[in-house]
């Protein structure tokens, strides 16, 4: 019943990765199968060129491409994330209504795992073995997705754009089929640190973080950017204890002026609310995992505007408040048409951006896509997404967005400020190139 509600990282240690022996057995097996297949092919095909008949590829027919995802539609994590997959679905509906990708419509299967890794295993097995999806797209959450990482890679199913900031997904040697999506927590911490250091050079910095790898990775990033003894106080919370008064009063006693937050939305709200009750009004600089204005306002209620004024966070996707942004305008239109009644917020943009990225990858994979051609398209670097910073996809890296941009709340509106940053060693550097233009109608052409 009690789970941590963020897509936080689980760093896999070497012991957790697939054992070498296992891998060797797989490659022997793979070699044997390939040899057998080649023999059969040599006997069967009387000299014809190899054509990829659509029915040979799982999840692909002449008119459809079936993909799946696992999402917390029910359970404690549903509050923060259940609205993402309907947005992805709405985007695919928009693509399908406009002829699909290379004439194929995208069928999107959403399975509810309740953010419970045991459920994730069964629903993903069902998707892969029974429904035979072409790829898994945007599986959500570090603990749930970690439980199917080996299964998907062993079965050679493209495992794209995992919705979590964990560095786990970026291990091309161990997990060649898995690709990340989000800016990782380490980079995000460095980006926030650089901004805060510039704006508040003489302030006392502190951290309020979750008691797992999410908090730990964020802290590592902060310390590599600010220096190892730069944090005057580090307080951790546990998702099973919502009373954070003890931790917040410690931050207050330590004289912290700027508090970094490696917390999920509920605890960001709890930290800010508790501080206000104690008459403590520092600056807050939050990870994007817990920095969405709309979500925070549902927790903070009528006091939101006063409490969040000057609130600093980071993002990399088009801002939902920026109606001048061509992507935001298009997504808003799609949301109204295909997802009626649903709020248009950060989750909507997130879900649709994952949908767009998949559509783009599918488009680049060619007229007769295979799992191999899909991964080749991603590794080529031609798939660019719609973020303010580039994706890290290449043969050596499966990292998602490589940086972000600072957001600031002013008069109740969370908007971007300054220019984007991208990861650069122990710190970040400004990223100055323009974002690729949106294709016509928001559909890859």
């Amino acid at each position: 019943m009690i789970v941590s509600q963020h897509p936080g990282p689980v760093r896999s240690t070497p012991a957790q990765r697939r054992p070498a022996a296992n891998k060797r057995r797989h490659s022997v097996l793979a070699a044997a199968v390939t040899a057998a297949a080649l023999t059969l092919a040599a006997c069967g095909s009387s000299g014809e060129g190899t054509s990829t008949a659509a029915e040979d590829v799982p999840g692909i027919t002449d008119s459809t491409v079936t993909v799946g995802t696992h999402q917390p539609l029910t359970g404690p994590a549903a509050a923060g994330y259940a609205s993402i997959s309907p947005a992805t679905k709405a985007y695919f509906d928009h693509v399908n209504a406009n002829g699909g990708i290379h004439g194929r419509t995208i069928e999107y299967t959403v399975k509810d795992d309740g953010y419970n890794p045991a459920n994730t295993q069964s629903v993903v097995r069902e998707m892969v073995l029974q429904d035979e999806v072409f790829a898994v797209v945007g599986g959500l959450g570090t603990p749930p997705h970690s439980s199917v990482l080996d299964f998907l890679n062993d079965n050679e199913v493209p495992d794209l754009f995992v919705a979590s900031g964990s560095p786990t997904w970026n291990q091309p040697e161990n997990y060649p089929y898995t690709y990340g999506f989000m800016q990782d927590y380490d980079t995000e911490a460095k980006g926030l640190a650089a901004y805060v250091q510039e704006e508040f050079p003489d302030a006392t910095y502190c951290l309020f973080g979750q008691d797992d790898d999410f908090g730990a990775d964020f802290k590592t990033g902060l310390e590599s950017a600010l220096g190892s003894d730069s944090l005057a106080s580090t307080q951790v919370y546990s998702t099973t204890n919502t009373d954070v008064a003890a931790q917040i009063s410690d931050l207050q006693a330590a004289g912290c002026d700027v508090n970094f937050l490696a917390s999920i939305n509920g605890f960001t709200a709890q930290a800010i609310g508790t501080a206000a009750k104690l008459g403590y009004m520092p600056r807050w600089a939050a990870s994007s995992a817990g920095g969405d204005y709309n979500t925070l306002s549902s927790y903070l209620g009528e006091n939101t505007d006063a409490l969040l004024e000057g609130f600093i966070s980071s993002n990399y996707l088009p801002a939902n408040t920026d109606t001048d942004d061509e992507w935001t305008a298009k997504f808003k239109e799609i949301n109204e048409e295909y997802n009626p009644g649903a709020a248009f917020d950060g989750n909507t943009i997130f879900g649709m951006s994952i949908g767009y990225l998949f559509a783009e990858a599918l488009h680049e994979a060619g007229e007769n896509p295979t799992r191999e051609s899909l991964l080749e398209a991603l590794e080529s670097g031609d798939v660019q997404g719609n973020g303010h910073v580039p994706l890290g996809f290449s043969a050596d890296s499966h990292a998602g967005y490589t940086g972000g941009m600072i957001t600031l709340v002013s008069d109740g509106v969370q908007a971007y400020t300054g220019s984007p940053y991208s990861a650069d060693g122990d710190s970040v550097s400004a990223y100055t190139e323009d974002r690729p233009a949106m294709p016509e109608n928001g559909i890859p052409q």
């Binding site: 009690i2 509050a79 009373d243 008064a245 009750k277 104690l278 008459g279 927790y299 209620g301």
Partner: protein, 292 residues
């Protein structure tokens, strides 16, 4: 010293609500020898009713009254339609039925109200008043203390000073004998459920504004803590639930403040284990264990 005081008072405020919730578990245990695992979900359901009423009328007190009334009705309903038909040959049956009910209620709430969090307003400010340089108790905390205090005194009077209380106790101790003497035991059982559910409703309404907000799962962790409180205090003892609640609240606050928040769930389990090993009947159970 300031910090010690701050942590202690903060823990007492939280402990008071845990005590109220534990009290609702104790009432059912005394009436039916059942630990009701659906208690948390039932209390959340009534809080949604209070939230809807308060949003519609703008009046907190109407919401509070409707939560308590809804609690009475829901408790009676659950007993009459579900628990009555669960065989009591094996204590596990009622536990499973309770867990099933928990899932059904949470899913239904999610379908009706959505899974998002909703901020709940409090009737009094939650900003602590400064007393002697230490700011710890807020007017809302005082409101919680008063509500829980009234509830405890009211229940104590009901059980010890009224004939209804006597009948309730009689049918809980010895249902068959009580029935021979003219007590309608089955009605008393329904009433016990109704009372317990109303107390749970009030407790949830008090604690949810201090947590993350209203959500179908808002009371999940509170239920675990309250269960610990009830066991620590003795499932049989109303006074034990209150003392246990305050004690657990303070211990949690000290552990979180001095050792780290990560250890609080472990501290709760250690406490539970220690009490079960050393004094299974609970710290405050004065009477010998009943076998009824």
């Amino acid at each position: 010293m300031d910090r010690f005081l701050f942590l202690t008072v903060d823990g007492l405020a939280r402990g008071a609500v845990l005590a109220a919730f534990a009290l609702s578990l104790v009432i059912i245990w005394r009436a039916a020898r059942i630990v009701n695992f659906a208690q948390g979900a039932m209390a959340v359901a009534t809080t949604y009713i209070a939230f809807t009423v308060t949003s519609a009328t703008g009046n907190y007190w109407l919401g509070l009254a409707s939560a308590v009334v809804a609690g009475l009705v829901l408790g009676a309903l659950v007993e009459r339609t579900v628990m009555r038909f669960v065989g009591n040959t094996n204590p596990l049956n009622s536990v499973i039925a309770g867990l099933g009910l928990l899932l059904v209620i949470q899913a239904a709430l999610g379908m009706i109200f959505g899974n998002g969090y909703r901020a709940m307003a409090t009737p009094f400010s939650s900003t602590p008043i400064s007393v002697g340089g230490v700011s710890a108790v807020s007017p809302y905390d005082l409101f919680i203390f008063i509500c829980v205090g009234l509830m405890v005194v009211g229940l104590a009077l009901l059980f010890t000073k009224t004939s209804l209380g006597l009948r309730l106790r009689a049918s809980a101790f010895a249902p068959d004998l009580a029935r021979l003497l003219g007590v309608r035991s089955s009605r008393m059982l329904t009433l016990g459920w109704a009372l317990s559910s109303a107390v749970g409703a009030l407790a949830a309404l008090l604690i949810i504004p201090t947590e993350l907000g209203l959500n179908p799962h808002a009371v999940d962790t509170v239920f675990v803590y309250a269960f610990t409180v009830a066991v620590v205090g003795g499932l049989d003892s109303a006074g034990g639930a209150v003392a246990g609640g305050l004690a657990v609240g303070v211990v949690l606050s000290w552990v979180s403040g001095y050792l780290g928040a990560t250890l609080t769930p472990i501290a709760v389990l250690v406490l539970l284990l220690a009490v079960l090993l050393l004094r299974p009947a609970g710290l405050f159970s004065m009477t010998k264990e009943r076998t009824a």
